[in-house]
């Protein structure tokens, strides 16, 4: 897919001590749906602050040495989060978010992903509306996700508050959208609806979603394989 060379590509989840992320993409690549100014602030300040904050905490923390995902699960501590939780989760969430987008994204998925969405939501349109509705129902800061629920073995849309991610519940995130006001305020002011609509229509990277679904299927059995009868 030609667009893959233009992905907002960051380093994959590094072990903590977190390395500063390498940027491979111009910050105006997501215009006009996400401005250069927003990307530079969001990535360069907010995300960077979380990375710096986490590194600082890890320099004296007994949790040093985990991978980022392990760190998040440990620090979530079953709902009584440790001090490292917020920074760790936000580092992960933002990394996941950048990778969920691409220039000239949006449209609709194809193949297996589309089939799974149609199976679990009825139609792609239903999924799209559910995504937007869930995003608008969230009051305050948080995220909206397409997740693959491990136990129910189906896709679902959920929203979470502040830094919480579906990793905390053992589910597998597939798409994330940052709904903290800093993610959209400069471009959209209070108009969260247009921000979410533009994300799902023009920014979401179905290529990345496909890769994530492929990986997720190694953990969740989504159906019986088609074994031909000899």
């Amino acid at each position: 897919m030609a667009a893959s060379a233009l992905h907002l590509r960051l380093l994959p989840s590094p072990p903590a001590g977190v390395q500063p992320q390498q940027r491979r993409l111009r910050s105006d690549a997501l215009e006009p749906y996400m401005s250069r100014r927003t990307v530079e602030l969001h990535w360069g300040k907010h995300h960077q602050d979380y990375v710096d904050g986490l590194n600082k905490q890890l320099s004296t923390s007994p949790l040093y040495g985990h991978t980022l995902e392990e760190l998040i699960k440990e620090a979530y501590n079953n709902g009584n989060p440790l001090p490292e939780y917020n920074n760790a989760a936000q580092v992960w969430n933002h990394h996941f978010f950048w990778e969920s987008m691409q220039p000239e994204g949006g449209g609709s998925p194809e193949g297996g992903v589309l089939q799974q969405i149609e199976k679990d939501f009825g139609s792609f349109t239903n999924f799209r509306e559910e995504f937007i509705r869930s995003a608008l129902q969230l009051l305050g800061s948080g995220w909206v996700w397409l997740v693959l629920k491990r136990n129910e073995r189906k896709l679902a849309v959920v929203h979470t508050r502040n830094a919480i991610s579906p990793l905390a519940f053992g589910d597998i995130p597939i798409i994330s959208l940052d709904l903290w006001e800093h993610a959209y305020y400069l471009d959209y002011k209070d108009d969260r609806r247009t921000y979410v609509t533009n994300f799902i229509d023009h920014l979401v990277s179905w290529h990345t979603v496909t890769l994530r679904m492929m990986r997720a299927e190694s953990f969740v059995n989504l159906g019986e394989p088609n074994i031909p009868v000899a």
């Binding site: 602030l41 300040k45 009051l139 305050g140 800061s141 830094a163 800093h182």
Partner: protein, 298 residues
């Protein structure tokens, strides 16, 4: 099924009580339920708080964010009223978020809603309140918080930023050591708050003590989570004393609240919330806070 039959039987009672075409507000008041609210005017121009808070932010904050809370809350009330008049049980349950009584009211007997309430209890009313941030109740609190916030601010030319005098000033010195220490504490707590919320200078009217509190989203000091207790015996709804484990206290009165949702500062200060907090003291209306303090302790 029995519950639905109860509701059907009571539909006549309901419509009698609601009196058909009575205006929403009058009907609501008669039933002791919350009335619609309106967006209060700002006591100053949008640009009057510059350079501490830009005119652009004030205009958006007032005309968009606060106005949206007001509109959505009123809409929910109307929908609830319609559902109750039709005896539409499932809609009533769904709109529970808008079942609330005049803010601050301790007790609101509503005999005409008795049968409906019985129905509601079968659907465990209580768990809803733990998910209150998704409810219209949160929009009501958003309206209340912002209404207080506009009064907490004042242009520099009209005395904004002048430190508190009188009883409040002394109480601050006594409790925090100095005015500067209070400012430092509120700045620190406001900056440390994750996500959206408010930082408050609150007065515990029973203990007669000041404290600095933070609340998430649109929670207030007063009622982090207030449980609505349905009394079968008295056929009333009563606000129950909030669970002390999750509340700041039913006796907390806010003297001063600072909105630290990102919309309150982002256009001007971007991610640097500490700068916003440092600067907002220039336009804080200590006179109002002092008046509230004096009234409460009078």
């Amino acid at each position: 099924m029995a519950a639905l039959r109860t509701l059907a039987a009571s539909k006549k009672t309901l419509s009698l009580a609601l009196g058909g075409a009575r205006p929403l507000a009058a009907a609501a008041a008669a039933r002791g339920v919350a009335t619609t609210v309106s967006l209060p005017d700002l006591p100053y121009d949008f640009g009057a708080l510059e350079p501490a808070i830009s005119g652009e932010i004030m205009q958006l904050h007032h005309q968009k964010h606060h106005a949206t809370y007001v509109t959505n809350y009123n809409k929910a009330l109307e929908q609830l009223d319609a559902a109750v008049s039709k005896g539409d049980a499932s809609a009533v349950v769904q709109l529970q978020g808008a079942i609330k009584f005049n803010g601050g009211g301790e007790r609101s007997p509503s005999p005409s809603l008795g049968p409906v309430l019985l129905l509601c209890t079968r659907f465990t009313v209580f768990p809803f309140f733990w998910a209150d941030d998704d409810a219209d109740w949160a929009k009501f609190r958003g309206h209340v918080n912002h209404s207080v916030f506009w009064k907490n601010l004042k242009p520099i030319s009209e005395g904004g930023g002048e430190p508190p005098h009188g009883k409040l000033g002394w109480a601050i010195d006594e409790h925090f050591g100095s005015f500067e220490a209070l400012v430092k504490k509120m700045n620190a707590e406001g900056a440390a708050l994750q996500g959206s919320g408010w930082v408050w200078l609150a007065l515990d009217k029973e203990a007669k003590m000041l404290s600095v509190e933070t609340t998430p989203n649109q929670h207030r000091c007063l009622d982090m989570i207030r449980r609505l207790r349905i009394s079968f015996q008295h056929r009333t709804l009563q606000w129950q004393t909030p669970d002390p484990l999750v509340t700041k206290g039913a006796s907390m009165v806010p003297l001063l609240g600072i909105d630290v949702w990102e919309h309150a500062y982002y256009l001007q200060y971007k991610n640097v919330r500490p700068d916003y907090l440092n600067n907002i003291w220039k336009v804080i209306n200590w006179k109002y806070a002092g008046e509230v303090y004096d009234n409460v302790l009078a």
